[in-house]
Symmetry: C2
Subunit: 213 residues, 2 copies
């Protein structure tokens, strides 16, 4: 709600990356990593997409891995922010869960290029970078588990295995980044709505709670 348009796509998600050339390199790296994977992408390819010489990359980033690290951190922060906004809003547990899944999935679909890198290139990170990212991922997990626990406590949900169900819900949402294509038949909003409904079913919520029609 309130955001300019929902299907922003690639509007200006990297406004916080400050030198302009650094941002162009980072955007180029996201595209390349998403298309071919981190290890199959060369620094020459990244620099070429950004319209620069290979050496220019090393003025703004110490190594190729630092590029991945930056993408990964900013991407995780964005996804977490989207999730938190929905999770901490007002409403019943069912409403919050539906909105959390809807917006989280919508982001993974609309930003599937970034999301693909963020979710599937993690093991190219070194131990320190990975430790930092793992903290963000734990926050994501805790946020979703919190809503589900609320729903169980209030009697809205029927969930025998809270940790397992949380894992499954997040797994479902994250995997959107793998299969979603802008050329496909569904818009990010449609996928978000479908997934919100499916997740409410998974937790045994009363269906009429968030389906007005």
């Amino acid at each position: 709600m309130s955001g300019a348009r929902e299907s922003d796509g690639e509007a200006q998600p990297w406004a916080e990356v400050t030198p302009d050339a650094a941002r162009r390199l980072l955007v180029a790296a996201v595209e390349a990593f998403a298309e071919r994977g981190y290890h199959a992408t060369t620094t020459r390819d990244i620099a070429g997409r950004a319209g620069m010489s290979p050496a220019a990359l090393y003025i703004h980033y110490k190594t190729k891995e630092e590029l991945l690290h930056r993408i990964s951190r900013v991407g995780h922060e964005k996804a977490l922010e989207v999730l938190n906004t929905a999770a901490r809003g007002a409403g019943t547990a069912a409403e919050r869960l539906a909105e959390a899944v809807r917006s989280f999935v919508c982001w993974h679909a609309a930003q599937h290029t970034v999301a693909r890198v963020v979710q599937y290139e993690l093991d190219a990170l070194g131990p320190e970078a990975w430790a930092e990212i793992r903290g963000l991922r734990r926050q994501v997990d805790a946020e979703v588990r919190g809503i589900i626990e609320d729903g169980v406590a209030s009697g809205e949900f029927d969930v025998p295995d809270v940790r397992g169900t949380t894992l499954a819900v997040l797994s479902l949402c994250i995997d959107v980044a793998r299969w979603f294509s802008a050329d496909g038949p569904r818009t990010p909003d449609e996928v978000g709505a479908l997934y919100a409904d499916l997740v409410l079913r998974m937790v045994g919520a009363k269906q009429d709670a968030s389906r007005p029609a």
Copy 2:
């Protein structure tokens, strides 16, 4: 049902790969690809794990990509076989869907090393190999969609969007290969059971249909 033990793990899944040295190389490649990814794995690493010199690889396989292709095809065939056995058994749509998800998920968890390669290294394949694999993937999709359509037709399931729900169910199952770890708290069988339950909820099946207790 009937199979020796459920959590076979790495029993002898590559019995059909005939020269013994070729099998050892293939098993080594599966391990290496699953750990580091296809592009980050070197032919020297594969040969080393198999206890051979780098050149030995090229006696049994034309290129490194052919190794991936072989792994991918055999892996997809195994997964499809597991799914088909369950999907084409007797029983209501709910029972068949539950058993299909249970065994498919169980395979992805127990064989998560292979499954990881099969599901996440696909885009390293060339166009011809990818076209072949895509055919197998379509069969997987059609099999699951068939059960869900049966359940809708018989009134067992309540599914507004069959294609979307099929996609979500398969996505959920496949993603198990990404997060499952043998060191984790759950056995493959436990994950299979949990997921079968969650999927029955997603399709709006009557819960008591397959829960004896």
